[in-house]
Amino acid sequence: MTLIVLLAVPLVGALVLWRASGSRATVLHGLTSAFTLAAALGVAVQVNRGGPLAAVDGLLRADALSAWMIALIGVVAALAATEAPAYLRPDAPGRFYPLFHLFVFTMLLAVSTDDVGLMWVAIEGTTLASVFLVNFERTRSSLEASYKYLLICSVGIAVAFLGTVLVYFAGIQQFGDEAHALRWTTVVRLAPGLAPRVIELAFVFLVVGYGTKAGLAPMHTWLPDAHSEAPAPVSALMSGVLLSVGVYAVLRFKPVVDLAAGPEFARRILLALGLVSIAVAAAFLWTSTNYKRTLAYSSVEHIGLVCLGLGFGGVWGTAGALLHIANHALAKSVLFVLSGRIRKAYGSTEISAVSGLMGPMPFTGGGFLAAMLALLGLPPFGLFVSEVMIFAAGFTQGFPFIAAVGLILFVIAFAGLLRTTHAILYGAPSSRHPVVEAGGWPRAIPLAGALALLLLTGLAWPPGLAATLDRVAAIVAR
C-alpha cells in the first residue's frame, strides 16, 4: 500500500501541476515534494522493520536494496525541490514542476518494481522525462546537450533491452513458460540453471546499456554536457540519483550472472569499467575549465569507484559501494545546487570567471568548500569512510594491484579537483562582480541537512545503518 502511495504522489503531483501556475504551482510543488519524501522514508522504515513490501500482485516490490535507493531518491529530490522555485521562468509556466516530478516518479518506479522489463521501461522513462529539463534554458548549448543526451541514452537503453530479452530467453529456454519469467525474484531463483554463456552475453549488453545511464566511461560522453547545461536542481537529481539508478539496474543483474556463470565474469567487467571511468575522469578533472563540467566528471569518477567496490565484492566492497552511492549523491547534489547559485551570481560557468569567489560570496563559498571537502573524501565526512571500505575490500579480497592502480588514479583525480576548488574559492579575484549574494538561513537549511547526514555516515553511524547495509549487501553479493 505504501508502495502505491509512494508512486502515486509524484505522478498525481505531476498531473495536477501540469495545469497549475503561479504561486499555487509553487505550493503544490512543495506539497508533492514533502509527501514524496515522507512516503519514501515511510517505505524505507517499513522495509527495514518488516522485510520486503509487495503490491499489485508482486509487480511492485521493495526489498532492502530498493528501500535504500527509494530513501536516497526521496532525500535528494527533496533537496533539489527546495531549490527549484528559483529556476522557474515566467515565460515557461508550468513545464518545469510537472517534468521534475515525473522525473522523480520514473526513478522511483525503476527501483520499486520487481519486473526487470518494467524497470527497463521506467529507466527509459527517466530519459524522456528529463530531456526537456536539460534543454530548459533553451540556449544553443543546452539544445546540443539535450540532443546528445536523448540520442546516446536511447541507444544505450536499447542495448539494455537486448540484454533483458536475452535474460528472458535464457529463462524460458531452460524452464519453459515460467510464469513471471521477467520478475527479478524469479530470475534470481532460476539463475543457477540458466545457460551461462547466454547470461554472460546478456550481462555485457546490460552493463553497456545501463552503464550508459550510469555514466560509466567510455559511455559517459553525454554526461558532462547534460549535467552542465541542465538547471542546477536537475543536475543535482541527475548526478545524485539518476546515475545511481543506472548502477542499481546493473546491481540487480549481478547476482544473476554470479549464480549462472560464477563471480569472475561480472567482477572483471566491473573492475575494468571502474578503472577506465576513474582514469577518464582524472584526465578531465585536470583539463576542464568549466566548474559544472568539473563536477560532472567527478561524478564519473565516483561511479567508477562504486564499480570498483562492487567488483572487489565481499561485504566490505559491496556495502562500501552502496554507502558510497548515498554519500556521493548527498555531497554532489549540494555542490550542484551551490554551483547554480554561483552561476546565477556571476552569469558564467567558467572557472576563470568566478575565481576568488570566497571574497564576494563568503556564504555560498563556505558551503561550497564544506561540500567539496566532503566530496574529496576527507574526514569527518561519509565519503572518507566508504572510500576506505572500497579500497580496503580491494586489498583484502585479493586484488592489491587493481586497488593500487585505482588508488593512484583516485589521487590524481583528487589533486585535479582540489586545484579547481582552490582556483574557484581563493584564486585571483575575477574581473566580474557577482550580484549580491542571496543569503538567508532558510536557503541554507536543506544543504546543511545534507551535510549533517554526511557527518552521520562519516562519524557516527546511526543505529541500524550497519544492519541495513548488511541486508542490502546480502541481496547483491550472493
Binding site: D115, V121, F132, F161, V165, V198, T289
Partner: protein, 213 residues
C-alpha cells in the same frame, strides 16, 4: 516456420543493406517502411505458427506505429532538408562493406544464443542481430539528425525482431512500453530537431560542437 522466419529475416537484412547503400533521404525512408512491414510480417508469421495471438496484435501495432506514424513524423522532420547530404562524404561502397562484415560479427556474437536455443526460428536470430548492429553503425556514422534517427530506428527494429524470434513475444507491459518509447523518442527528436534547425539553420551535426572538454 524455419523457412518463413529465415526468409523474412533475410529480406530484412537486404533492406537494411539497401538503407546503408542509398543516399537519398526519401528512398531511405521508404526502405525503412519496407523493413517495418517485414517486421510485422515476421511477428504475424511467428504468431500464427506458434499460436501466439498476442503477436498478431503486436504486428498490427508495428504496422500502425512503425510503418505509418513514425515515417510520417520522419517526413515532417526531413521536410526542407536536401534530398542528399550536401557534402559528398564517404562512398557508400565502403559502408556496405563494413555492414557486410558486421553480419559476420553478428553470427559470432550470437553463437551462445543459437547454441542454447531449441527453436525453429533460431537460424534467423543472428540475422536480426546483424540488422541491429548495422543500425547502430548507421546511427554512429550518421552525418545529420535524420541519419541518427534512422540508424536508431533500424537498430530498434533489429532488436525487436530478435526479441520476437528468440522469445515469441515479451510480456504485454514491456511490449507496450517499447512502442510508447520509440514513438515518444521520435516525437521528442522532432521537437529537438525543429529547434536545432531554427538555431543553426541546418540539421547537420557538424554544427553541434559548442560543448567540448
Amino acid at each position: 516456420m524455419t523457412t518463413v522466419s529465415n526468409l523474412l529475416a533475410f529480406f530484412g537484412l537486404v533492406v537494411t543493406l539497401l538503407i546503408v547503400w542509398r543516399q537519398s533521404w526519401p528512398a531511405r525512408r521508404r526502405l525503412f517502411v519496407a523493413q517495418s512491414l517485414l517486421l510485422a510480417a515476421l511477428a504475424s508469421a511467428v504468431g500464427l505458427f506458434a499460436h501466439r495471438r498476442a503477436l498478431l496484435l503486436v504486428a498490427a501495432v508495428v504496422v500502425v506505429v512503425k510503418a505509418w506514424v513514425i515515417p510520417r513524423v520522419l517526413s515532417r522532420i526531413g521536410a526542407g532538408a536536401p534530398v542528399r547530404p550536401i557534402a559528398p562524404g564517404r562512398s557508400s561502397g565502403m559502408s556496405v562493406l563494413v555492414a557486410g562484415a558486421l553480419v559476420v560479427v553478428a553470427y559470432v556474437i550470437m553463437l551462445p544464443v543459437t547454441a542454447a536455443a531449441e527453436l525453429p526460428t533460431e537460424g534467423a536470430i543472428p540475422l536480426a542481430f546483424a540488422i541491429a548492429l548495422i543500425g547502430l553503425f548507421l546511427c554512429v556514422t550518421g552525418r545529420d539528425a535524420l541519419g541518427h534517427i534512422l540508424g536508431f530506428l533500424v537498430f530498434e527494429n533489429g532488436i525487436f525482431g530478435l526479441a520476437i524470434l528468440a522469445t515469441y513475444g515479451l510480456p504485454g507491459i514491456v511490449e507496450a512500453g517499447v512502442f510508447l518509447d520509440v514513438l515518444v523518442i521520435v516525437l521528442i527528436m522532432e521537437a529537438v530537431v525543429v529547434e536545432v534547425r531554427r538555431e543553426h539553420d541546418s540539421i547537420e551535426v557538424d554544427r553541434l560542437r559548442e560543448l567540448r572538454g
